[in-house]
């Protein structure tokens, strides 16, 4: 009966697992007259089989899609390094499985795509005929699928995990249900930190594909030569180093949604390949002779002006038009009227609650600083600011001193003279794509121009001390070589 499990995974010979299953799996499973790996691949629940040292022997296709690891990549690696289940790291449930009454744990995992996914993990020992533990089996359920129908999570000003009540966001929310129900490709645009990933995820989980995988692929994170293999998969021997078949993100996302972030970074040759998929729904793995039909909805996102890039000839116009059929633009946070306050309250509650902190809100001065700030990093930056403040705050009200220093250094000193209508305020218009350093540099330059090169006056206009201005000028390369910062023009 040792040869009963001689089978393939569909893509490659079972190889090591075949051997390990016959050697390590309990007798009852060895005797099953089925192709167990193929059967497990059809289960829409993540499944992993571990040896007694908690090293991975096998993961099924659902867990491949969820974790982002292919079967070959994770064979022989510690479960905690692959699954990255929160409970594995703090207190591995398999370490004391015999004493445990409950074999179900709720927690989260971090995927290869850097997503934190809430999961429910069920685990059990694999025991041989003599009652000895020879390994473990785990099932991993993605709880995001349950959330889509959870009425408790419905927020009056939200869609999925995106929150906003500004007219700009309400307009987007109005269209989302219809977009979710369609199967057309979607293009999401918006600056960094505006929530493009969340929007894509919200569309998927509101769509009829919600029970199937939501797979994320980031073009910018990989060198060009690896993108094709990661996205479309490759066959063994397709290129030097391709020692095994790789399924690719399209196969992982079968019947679900593939979110391609930073689509503007997709190399031209692959733009054509993606366009072919959108037209023919067929995938050609790298080095393969056989294609396969994929049923995957594509949602793409970019922080670039794709239309302009396409017009300049650096992005295929046909692909742009195909993706742009349904497009959504997420506005920068500074342009979302009234959302800053809503998001501040939301993130304060969400960060304070796990720490059991009873925070009541923000002080008026603190709110003024936070509402006046331009957030070049958008919602992501606001979230970090609030998380920091919640951690630092020791009272019930978040004050100005609880904010990160880069806000208080600049805004306590800079906004005050502005608010007090100082005779010559210094402003710097924030353009798209400018980070805080660029804004600050521009402010210093403006102040020096207004002060006709006199640093004392420029420092006064900025509301800084002379030494602060000098330090920042030196930092931004605005000080002349050999300038000691003590001489003042005209003084």
């Amino acid at each position: 009966m040792k040869h009963v499990l001689k089978c393939t995974f569909g893509l490659k010979p079972l190889g090591y697992l075949e051997q390990s299953i016959t050697q390590r799996k309990p007798q009852i499973m060895k005797n099953l007259p089925v192709d167990i790996s193929s059967a497990l691949d059809e289960v829409p629940l993540g499944i992993s089989i571990l040896n007694k040292d908690r090293k991975i022997l096998f993961i099924n296709r659902a867990l491949e899609a969820m974790s982002g690891f292919s079967r070959g990549e994770c064979e022989g690696l510690p479960c905690s390094s692959v699954l990255r289940f929160s409970n594995c790291i703090e207190n591995c449930p398999l370490a004391d499985i015999a004493e445990r009454e409950k074999n179900i744990l709720e927690g989260d995992i971090i995927t290869q795509d850097h997503q934190k996914i809430p999961v429910l993990v069920t685990f059990a020992p694999l025991v041989n005929g003599r009652g000895r533990v020879t390994g473990y089996i785990e099932t991993v359920e993605d709880l995001r699928k349950r959330r889509t129908v959870d009425p408790i999570r419905i927020h009056p000003f939200s869609f999925g995990d995106i929150i906003g009540r500004s007219p700009q966001m309400e307009k987007i929310f109005k269209f989302l249900p219809a977009i979710a129900q369609s199967d057309s490709p979607v293009l999401i645009t918006g600056q960094i930190g505006t929530g493009k990933d969340l929007l894509a995820s919200a569309i998927h989980y509101a769509s009829p594909r919600a029970k199937n995988p939501f797979v994320i692929f980031r073009c910018g994170a990989l060198p060009d030569n690896l993108i094709e293999s990661e996205l479309f998969g490759h066959e063994k021997g397709a290129f030097p180093g391709a020692t095994e078949n790789k399924p690719g993100k399209f196969r992982f996302a079968q019947n679900g949604t593939l979110f391609i972030a930073e689509i503007g970074d997709l190399p031209p040759s692959l733009q054509l390949k993606l366009l072919t998929y959108l037209d023919e729904k067929t995938i050609y793995p790298l080095g393969g002779t056989r294609n396969f039909s994929a049923d995957v909805r594509v949602i793409a996102a970019t922080s670039l002006n794709l239309e302009q890039i396409a017009r300049g000839g650096h992005f295929r116009k046909e692909l742009f038009f195909r993706l742009n059929a349904v497009s959504l633009h997420l506005p920068p946070l500074k342009d979302r009227d009234g959302d800053i306050r809503l998001l501040l309250e939301h993130f304060m509650r969400s960060h304070a609650s796990p720490q059991k902190k009873a925070l009541l809100g923000f002080s008026p001065e603190c709110l003024r600083v936070l509402e006046e700030y331009t957030y070049p990093g958008n919602v992501l930056e606001l979230k970090h600011i609030v998380e920091y403040a919640v951690n630092i705050c020791r009272g019930e009200i978040i004050g100005i001193r609880d904010l990160p220093s880069y806000l208080t250094e600049t805004f306590e000193d800079l906004v005050t003279p502005l608010a007090a209508s100082s005779p010559s305020p210094v402003e710097a218009s924030v353009e798209d794509g400018m980070d805080w350093s660029a804004v600050e540099r521009k402010m210093i330059t403006n102040a020096l121009i207004k002060a006709k090169g006199r640093r004392s006056r420029a420092a006064q206009l900025l509301g800084w001390g002379r030494s602060t201005l000098w330090r920042k000028m030196k930092h931004y390369g605005l000080a002349a070589p050999g300038d000691e910062g003590l001489r003042e023009i005209g003084q």
């Binding site: 090293k55 022989g76 929160s86 790291i89 850097h114 998380e387 920091y388």
Partner: protein
């Protein structure tokens, strides 16, 4: 001088950035020497690690799995993030020094 932060769990790179109970900050000088500082966190927190990385002027972070928002935040702060590393800190550091450590590197012998 180059400063690198390693998110640790025991002697290994912590499988998750947000659950690393301690960090090691290694400063390499031009003469080839290195200074090592270990910080044990009161409780694991990705936010605290980001604050440490920015406050200490870290140039690179070596870690295991990291959530997108922290990855973007660190990159936004011009900090290189070499993520998804599986293996011991002792194996990662020499590779980092040689410039050959890249995201996703597996530095353990696979035990099949």
């Amino acid at each position: 001088m180059k400063k690198v932060l390693l998110a640790l769990y025991g002697n290994d790179i912590a499988p998750r950035f947000d659950l690393a109970p301690e960090v090691q900050i290694v400063t390499f000088d031009r003469e080839g020497g290195e200074e090592v500082k270990t910080i044990v966190l009161p409780r694991p927190s990705a936010e605290t690690l980001c604050q440490i990385a920015t406050a200490e002027n870290i140039e690179a972070v070596i870690c295991g799995g990291i959530e997108e928002e922290y990855l973007q935040y660190l990159r936004w702060k011009k900090i290189e993030v070499i993520h998804s590393i599986i293996g011991a800190a002792d194996a990662a550091l020499p590779r980092f020094r040689l410039g050959s450590l890249k995201p996703g590197d597996i530095l353990v012998e696979r035990r099949k």
